[in-house]
Assembly symmetry: C2
Homo-oligomer: 340 residues x 2
């Protein structure tokens, strides 16, 4: 990729800025007129032709203005962006909504706030399962044949599931069993908890084989299996964008956003990143998302990235504003969670 310098670079920036606001192809005269450029439209035209040659611009049809390519958005985001600060009024408002006593709900609130503020679909993934450690595991006896098993991880997520005893079991037996399982499972990262390991734990208490199976299922399905940890909000916002006025374009995107596995896949990469990550158009692996950008950021609990949140919108989006918002929400959510 060729480095852009001086005026040419400025012109590209103007075109992207204008296109983001208007969603209309930008012509040479519009560039010269709206911004006080000391050159004629013919000169701008020459530059624009060069920018097209370099792969930064494209024409929807031969005599229309130009629109930015994914590559243009890429340099725009990487080196032309003025990240907008979130207004202090909005900061305060958002912080208040995050003051809820539970991780899941705080994440949900953050997702919602993001959807409202950006007019995009907003997504979040909860704690990355493989780094989690089960801190507590309790069996709560309900009837002689039923109990509720509750597991709490180090990131304060808890999950429960009903388990059934084959034989009647007293509350005391249940307590004992609870402690027994707890002793072997807690403090150990869930990523270690392969089926084999679980079998070993189970082997020593064959009487409660079935209960242990069920506990294992809880851990695997509800805590390890990450899809249940995805939040999505504001997908209908996608329809407000002019590029998705055509239902046939919008439908695949909305369908994809309904699938937790796809959302999880979109966000997964963001966890490794230190800060805000921007995936533009075809940079997203998913075919359905080739007209969309995904902006995501991990949120931290203590030192480790507990999860990711972000937005999905058209590639033509207000990157400056939205990156600022995603960054702020990731930080705020982290702050809120750290208060636990």
């Amino acid at each position: 990729m060729v480095e852009l310098e001086g005026r040419r670079r400025e012109i590209l920036r103007m075109i992207i800025d204008d296109y983001i606001l208007t969603a209309e192809p930008i012509g040479s005269e519009a560039v010269r007129g709206r911004h006080r450029l000391g050159v004629s439209s013919a000169t701008v035209r020459n530059e624009m032709a060069a920018l097209e040659e370099l792969g930064y611009l494209q024409q929807p049809h031969p005599s229309a203005g130009r629109i930015p390519t994914d590559q243009a958005y890429r340099v725009y985001v990487d080196s032309m962006l003025e990240e907008e600060q979130v207004s202090s009024a909005e900061r305060a408002r958002i912080r208040r909504t995050l003051a809820v006593p539970e991780l899941d709900r705080a994440v949900e609130q953050a997702t919602r706030a993001l959807a409202v503020a950006t007019d995009c679909a907003s997504v979040a993934a909860g704690p990355s399962p493989h780094q989690q450690v089960v801190r507590h595991l309790h069996l709560i006896p309900l009837t002689p044949h039923r109990a509720l098993v509750v597991a709490v991880t180090d990131t304060e997520v808890f999950k429960g599931q009903m388990v059934e005893f084959q034989e009647a079991t007293t509350a005391e037996e249940c307590d004992r069993l609870s402690q027994e399982i707890s002793r072997r499972i807690t403090g150990r990262p869930l990523s270690d908890l392969t089926d084999r390991m679980l079998d070993k734990v189970i082997g020593e208490a064959t009487l409660y084989q079935r209960v242990l199976d069920q506990v294992g299922r809880l851990l695997r399905d509800q805590i390890l299996h990450p899809s249940a940890r995805v939040h999505t909000e504001g997908t209908a916002n996608i329809l407000k964008q002019p590029e998705f006025r055509d239902v046939r374009r919008a439908q695949p995107v909305l369908s994809a956003l309904e699938r937790e596995d796809i959302v999880e896949e979109l966000l997964r990469g963001g966890l490794g990143q230190k800060r805000v990550r921007v995936m533009i158009g075809a940079e997203n692996r998913r075919e359905e998302m080739r007209d969309c950008s995904v902006i995501s950021a991990p949120y931290y609990v203590g030192e480790h990235a507990a999860g990711v949140l972000g937005i999905v919108g058209p590639t033509r989006m207000r990157y400056g504003k939205i990156i600022g918002l995603v960054r702020f929400l990731a930080e705020s959510l982290g702050d809120a969670l750290n208060q636990f």
Copy 2:
């Protein structure tokens, strides 16, 4: 409303049947041709004019065919419908997906199955909160200052929330407190659990005032507050319907379906109904839903209606097939839940 008899009634039925399949206005010639009617198109025209006069048909524009009104769908559903049976292969397939060990997930699976089978948006509301009784309430000590409170209702729903102690509390104290609260709250319908009642319970244990506040919040916000109990699936299916090819028509519907309070409101009435309820077009109170029909049915756990599930689709939908499916899924979900 005038009773419809004989041929006129048959013609209306044909028009509705055809329109449901084609989504195109139906003309007199089409009615005569597709079904072997022993009369000419002129006669059909006379009948159609009468049906329009009576409010059953309308013309999108003066020289188009006719389409059914909400009123037409109403008599269609009430008295012309052959409810389609769900194929035994599909019955088996759906029953398998519902065999999960937990109410919430069974409801989720049922909603998903419904969305896939009907190509409509599918919604469900969990157990009606006011009829619920808390059966078990446990405090699980995590640290000296934190515990997880878990409540289990008679419909096997459980919810948890973190609570904080102002002063360090031992596991034994925590257990004692747990039993104390449990004794006073369990077995009592949640609808009795007004703020005043809660205060009375709390009054006797002022030391743990704050914990009790938090327990109260759990019960009110998570179990009483029904919005968290709404599932929605397949909203993007709405976009597949030709009547929603125009984004401006689809957007309000999708936005409404994203709001849990609206979905809950749509379903609420269905709980009282003994069986399948069909709300057609403007029969729905919500302005956004005037182009949609909602078909819902309560599912039973034992003798009492535990929740409602159903679909939202265009008024032009295959009522026969979908009513059959909703009925079957409500029954199957009830069966699945009764096995607990």
